[in-house]
């Protein structure tokens, strides 16, 4: 009986302790987690380093990279179809000249499949979060303390 009452009362206490906590929700377009610098987001292509060897296209498990000619350049350069890309980093790992890299940018949504195909010129640009997310107001970092998780908010 004592055990039963404990098992009926105890959950109330635990739930109450959660009601007063700050929610874990991140209101995305207005807030955004700070992504570590080694994050595997969008590719950035260094056209000066790329020699068009095609290793990235061969190693890509999803066949999302094709080499396309770029006007005024000697070599073909990779074009990435983000509709197929699984962000596995294989192309970056096996690039013999370190021409490809991945940066902490993940705002890649588009309204059509054609927009998801990034030609080399577009890959060469370094995107800015400000432009992709004009609503962004705060950036968050997760901090684990002994007592709990805290989201530290910082104005952009």
């Amino acid at each position: 009986m004592k055990d039963m009452i404990k098992k009926l009362i105890q959950p109330f206490a635990v739930v109450f302790s959660h009601v007063l906590r700050r929610p874990h929700t991140i209101q995305y377009p207005y807030e955004r987690l700070v992504i570590p610098s080694n994050y595997r987001g969008r590719h950035v292509l260094d056209m000066e380093k790329c020699v068009g060897c095609g290793v990235c296209a061969r190693i890509c498990p999803n066949n999302c990279i094709t080499l396309v000619p770029v006007g005024g350049r000697r070599f073909k350069h990779p074009q990435i179809d983000y509709g197929r890309c699984s962000f596995c980093e294989m192309c970056v790992r096996y690039c013999p000249h370190d021409a490809l890299s991945m940066i902490d940018f993940v705002e890649l949504s588009a309204t059509s499949r054609e927009e998801l195909i990034y030609p080399p010129q577009k890959l060469a640009e370094i995107p800015s979060v400000k432009e992709a997310l004009p609503q962004l107001k705060k950036e968050l970092t997760v901090e684990v303390t002994e007592s709990g998780i805290r989201y530290i908010r910082r104005k952009v």
Partner: protein, 370 residues
């Protein structure tokens, strides 16, 4: 498949369009509330991963294999990578083995937190635990983000080691997260495992005796909660598990409650394993280079790994080409679904018990369908 066996029996299609079923259809023959027969109908997420792997070389192969179980990617990748390493005859460096153990155990925690939250929700009206556990995955995902570069499907294990080194400056944060997590585990126990109504719902429901569990081929915590001590980590120690002190969680009851509680206890063990692995991690190289553009040696290799849902086997057969000739993946969920369909004393089960039993097996249908 859809005809009803008789007028008296009502065949309910539990899924795939259903709030709790997931990507599966389970045909349930009922007589009133009483369940007469459970027929799983799989294949809604079949992606032919075995066929894809026949058309990818061994380095590329890690990527599709990981997509089998998104919450438990590391263990899946490890099974494949270990099979490849066995085939190539290479042994990863010691440091890589420890890093692999850490990441696999974090994945086990992530996976169990998810499955355990769903288990709480399956009892009905208790989604709070599910969202708490989802929230508590965040610090671990953050750590993984810092180590591997993504939150899941890491593509981090490569044949010959791990792709990046374990950043030593993260150790402190890791240990802090673990001690925080241990406190949270206590919260889950108090809120959920010691909840009278949940006990009433899950205890003595869907009991699986040890001999039945072995005969029907239950996998993972579902098997061990029936009192059978079969754990690949202990029986066939891989990576650094033979240098780490941990115990295999077994519970004697074999009911739904025990299956869920076994997952909880495994998380406690995982925390211990990670602590030891971080402390004892040797320094040194973390990767041996393996070229993806070389022919594989002729032969075969069968690697087994204890994934979060149970034993995962990858059998690679090579005929000496660039790509594996055949890859056979043995997934735990497929076996657990068979156990579900053949549960002994099925007539004791009521319709309301079905989600509880189902989620006590922690099914991941993508794993079953491959």
């Amino acid at each position: 498949m859809s005809e009803e066996p008789s007028k008296r029996v009502m065949r309910i299609s539990w899924g795939p369009q259903h709030p709790m079923s997931g990507q599966i259809r389970i045909l349930v023959d009922t007589d009133g509330e009483r369940v007469l027969n459970i027929i799983p109908d799989l294949g809604f997420t079949h992606r032919a991963i075995e066929k894809i792997l026949e058309n990818r070389n061994v380095v590329q192969g890690v990527v599709p294999v990981e997509r089998m179980v998104m919450v438990d990617t590391a263990n899946n990748a490890l099974a494949y990578v270990r099979a490849v390493e066995e085939l190539l005859g290479i042994e990863p460096p010691k440091r890589a083995q420890y890093i692999r153990v850490i990441i696999c155990e974090v994945c086990r925690i992530l996976s169990h937190l998810y499955g355990f939250g769903l288990g709480a929700e399956s009892g009905g009206g208790y989604p709070a635990v599910f969202l708490w556990s989802t929230a508590d995955r965040e610090p671990f995902l953050d750590l993984m983000e810092r180590i591997t570069g993504t939150r899941w499907s890491y593509s981090f294990f490569v044949p010959g080691g791990v792709y990046r080194d374990f950043p030593d400056k993260i150790k402190d944060k890791f240990l802090k997260t673990l001690s925080y997590f241990e406190k949270r585990l206590e919260t889950y126990r108090r809120a959920w495992f010691e909840n009278k109504i949940f006990e009433a719902r899950a205890k003595n429901v869907g009991v699986l005796k040890p001999e039945d569990a072995i005969r029907l081929g239950a996998a993972g915590p579902s098997l061990r909660s029936s009192g059978v001590s079969l754990d690949v980590r202990k029986n066939e120690p891989y990576e650094a598990y033979d240098e780490i002190d941990f115990k295999v969680v077994t519970l004697p009851e074999g009911d739904s409650y025990a299956r869920l509680f076994a997952r909880y206890l495994e998380m406690v063990e995982s925390v211990k394993i990670i602590r030891q692995a971080i402390e004892n991690m040797p320094s040194g190289p973390y990767r041996k280079s393996v070229s993806p553009f070389k022919r594989l040696p002729k032969g075969e290799a069968y690697a087994r790994v204890e994934a979060a849902r149970g034993e995962l086997g990858v059998h690679i057969i090579s005929d000496g080409g660039f790509k594996p000739y055949r890859v056979k993946i043995t997934s735990p969920t497929l076996r657990n679904l068979y156990v579900l369909s053949q549960l002994p004393k099925i007539s004791d089960i009521l319709l309301a018990d079905l989600p509880v039993i189902m989620y006590s097996f922690d099914p991941w249908y993508l794993d079953a369908d491959r």
